[in-house]
């Protein structure tokens, strides 16, 4: 199925997809070998899983921002729903499924489902708006999710699950355990996220996004992005396709949130604030809207960069900002791009193919 689809694609597109998979896999194999032979520093090893989570976040947001063309500023909200529901699920399953990778996989599925539901509910009011208004409302929903989770208590005891809002009214029986503790978040998480699991999730996210973009749905997304009125006039159900992209993106973000949270022993809702949403948006913008490989590279680079700048102590954040500005300028500079295109053996052919298909 996938092969057939790849063959039917324009060759440029197929090549780009292949290169993305190949590079991600190669990077994984190299890092995994370096990590197991202890060549990799602790600092780098500690960042492998969060980088995977940020890559998935970037790819999923790119689906909404780059392909669908709607600016979403609340993406961290879905990450946080995924983080909290996934960790809670993993904690509940702790005694049922002792094998960690299976437990993590199930937790990610739960996380994706919860985030998708949230995405659907939020999508209903959000997609009645356009442009800037839509962006601001997604920002507001991101903050609402943060506030809700900050006031949410979830406990478990022999009588089952107990919820409460604002104050802890769960009244757990003897031997019960409070899992989500409002502003204190979740403590004592078993760290079961691993780099291979992160890699698998990244591949799944890429497969989902590429297949969606190159399907009938993906064509519709781009039609809506390029000209909403024209798309509507030929009978594309705008609400339906927008919702499809948004819910898929939310589900992937949820799974990424779960992977991220299970890499630390503690997690709080405040971690997934407006700044995190913007950070992910920066990955997308720097990597290029609609360019999945770009998102992945940008996510990895911008996660590692502040750590590599640690030696500059107090000048660290200043340098980070300068590098970011330079990167944005360079990435958008025509001369620089032409220069790099000279080293790309496929560049000319791509243009030719483009001409033929026209």
């Amino acid at each position: 199925m996938t092969m057939k689809r790849l063959i039917n694609l324009k060759r440029v597109e197929a090549r780009r997809i292949f290169i993305t998979y190949a590079l991600v896999t190669a990077a994984f194999v190299i890092l995994q070998v370096m990590s197991s032979t202890k060549i990799l520093s602790s600092s780098m090893r500690g960042m492998l899983v969060p980088i995977c989570a940020y890559m998935v976040m970037a790819v999923s947001l790119n689906l909404v921002v780059g392909v669908l063309g709607e600016l979403s500023l609340g993406h961290a909200g879905f990450m946080s729903i995924g983080a909290f529901s996934g960790v809670a699920a993993a904690m509940l399953l702790q005694n049922v499924i002792p094998f960690a990778p299976v437990r993590l996989a199930l937790a990610m599925v739960v996380a994706a489902v919860f985030a998708a539901i949230a995405g659907f509910l939020i999508g209903i009011p959000v997609f009645r708006l356009k442009g800037d208004y839509l962006a601001i409302v997604t920002l507001a929903f991101g903050e609402i999710i943060k506030s809700l989770l900050n006031n949410f208590y979830l406990g478990v005891d022999s009588g089952g699950l107990h919820f409460s809002m604002l104050v802890d009214n769960t009244r757990l029986l003897e031997g019960g355990k409070l899992i989500i503790r409002g502003p204190m978040g979740i403590s004592g998480i078993q760290k079961i996220s691993t780099f291979p699991m992160g890699f698998v999730l990244t591949l799944i996210a890429l497969a989902v996004v590429f297949n969606l973009v190159n399907s009938r749905g993906g064509r519709a997304f781009m039609a809506i992005r390029d000209d909403r009125i024209a798309a509507e006039s030929i009978g594309i159900n705008i609400m339906r396709y927008k919702m499809m992209a948004f819910v898929t993106s939310a589900a992937l973000a949820g799974a990424a949130g779960c992977l991220f949270a299970m890499n630390y022993s503690t997690i709080v809702a405040n971690k997934f604030d407006f700044n995190t949403s913007i950070l992910v948006l920066v990955f997308v913008v720097l990597g290029g809207q609609g360019n999945m490989l770009g998102s992945i590279v940008a996510a990895a680079a911008l996660t590692i960069l502040p750590e590599k700048l640690r030696q500059f102590a107090d000048y660290r954040m200043l340098l980070y900002a300068i590098v970011l500005i330079m990167a944005m300028l360079v990435a958008n500079n025509l001369t620089v791009r032409r220069f790099f295109d000279r080293f790309n053996p496929f560049a000319n052919r791509e243009e030719e193919e483009d001409d033929i298909s026209r």
């Binding site: 520093s41 602790s42 600092s43 409002g182 502003p183 204190m184 630390y264 102590a313 340098l319």
Partner: protein, 376 residues
């Protein structure tokens, strides 16, 4: 541009070279918020520890230290990154993290890597829970809440109490919980119990009106100094002057930029460190801190100063040498800290339980003429 980078690189080199102390020094590492909203705590802890390390290295002590603090911006993810960077540097014993949530994350790493940690100021219960090699120099949050209620009741500071607390903050929530339960036990009447959260922490008129209307004589503020400063200013604007009572997060309000110190007049706070204490060690420490950093040290600085000296004592007692690896030191430190008694700036006869919690007496302080003065 190149010149600028070269300059920065050179500066960084000089700094690291300045710290290097040869092979016979213990590598002591810690993470804390050196930038961002909580930076005052991280920098205080770093400065306090640095003074202690310099004093020890200049003395004829056999135990020498090399100290490195990494920035964690008060974030668990960054704290783990900072911790890993310290591991790459070769950290043998750790000062954990300065703030609670980040320390919870790094403590889990300390536990799995078998690197001993003594945090100066991370006060949440979860920091030490279930870990045999993570110890605290400060009180745990719940103890602060119940100690405050006890203090208010013992000194008869007020019968009708209002609380304003931050319900999306671990620190504030933890203290609030135990304060309420202890207050009930002691027969203190909590007449007003109001909250705020990130994002609506600039206007406190609702909370203050409620406290005033219900006739509260004392307002308990279990929070950091930033929102507390606004509460004090807004209360003054509406001529509401109850007794104010804070906990150790309030420490630092006097050194806050742009804060009118007269507003904090009469604020009582419970903190283990009193910069006005008359013992010779405190006087010396405060003088040195003022000389180097131009301000009065707060409790965080004193706690981390104590951490370094506690390490010195434990390392001397166990006859540890700097060429031992982290795991060997960890076992020795666990043995020492659960058995030794330590006298520091933040309390005398401190002891630690097996769970890593410290036992010491809190000191009440009151702000008078723009300075902290001991209440007892």
């Amino acid at each position: 541009m190149k010149k600028f980078f070269a300059f920065v690189a050179a500066a960084a080199l000089v700094m690291t070279a300045g710290c290097a102390f040869g092979a016979n020094a213990f590598k002591l590492g810690g993470t804390g918020p050196l930038t961002g909203g909580a930076a005052i705590y991280g920098n205080a802890a770093k400065n306090g520890a640095q003074i202690a390390v310099d004093e020890i290295n200049a003395s004829d002590s056999k135990v020498k230290f090399e100290l490195l603090y990494e920035d964690d911006t008060h974030d668990a993810e960054k704290a783990v990154n900072a911790y890993n960077a310290l591991k790459d540097w070769g950290m043998q014993i750790s000062m954990g993290s300065v703030t609670s949530k980040p320390c919870e994350a790094t403590a889990a790493e300390n536990f799995s890597d078998r690197i001993f940690a003594l945090t100066p100021s991370a006060s949440a219960v979860a920091v030490t829970a279930g870990k045999d090699n993570v110890f605290q120099m400060c009180f745990v949050d719940p103890n602060q809440g119940s100690a405050s209620a006890q203090y208010i009741s013992d000194k008869a500071l007020g019968k009708k109490i209002a609380i304003i607390w931050k319900n999306d903050d671990v620190y504030s929530t933890g203290i609030h919980e135990t304060f309420i339960s202890k207050a009930k036990e002691l027969g203190l009447e909590v007449v007003s119990d109001m909250t705020f959260a990130d994002g609506n922490d600039t206007d406190f008129s609702v909370q203050l009106t409620d406290a005033k209307d219900k006739g509260a004589e004392l307002v308990f503020l279990p929070m950091y100094y930033q929102p507390a400063s606004l509460i004090l200013a807004q209360a003054a604007a509406v001529d509401y002057a109850p007794k104010w009572f804070g906990v150790d997060g309030m420490d630092g309000i006097l050194t806050m930029e742009g804060f009118d110190k007269s507003l904090a007049e009469g604020v009582i706070l419970l903190t283990p460190f009193n910069a006005d204490a008359k013992d010779i060690r405190t006087i010396n420490f405060v003088r040195e801190y003022k000389k180097r950093f131009g301000e009065v040290p707060n409790q965080f600085a004193a706690d981390s100063y104590d951490c370094v000296y506690a390490y010195k004592q434990a390392l001397e007692n166990s006859q540890a040498t700097a060429d031992m690896d982290a795991e060997t030191l960890c076992a020795k430190m666990i043995e020492q800290f659960t058995s030794m008694t330590f006298n520091g700036l933040t309390g005398s006869n401190m002891t630690w339980s097996k769970g890593g919690e410290v036992t010491k007496d809190p000191k009440g302080m009151i702000i008078k003429n723009g300075a902290y003065v001991g209440l007892d």
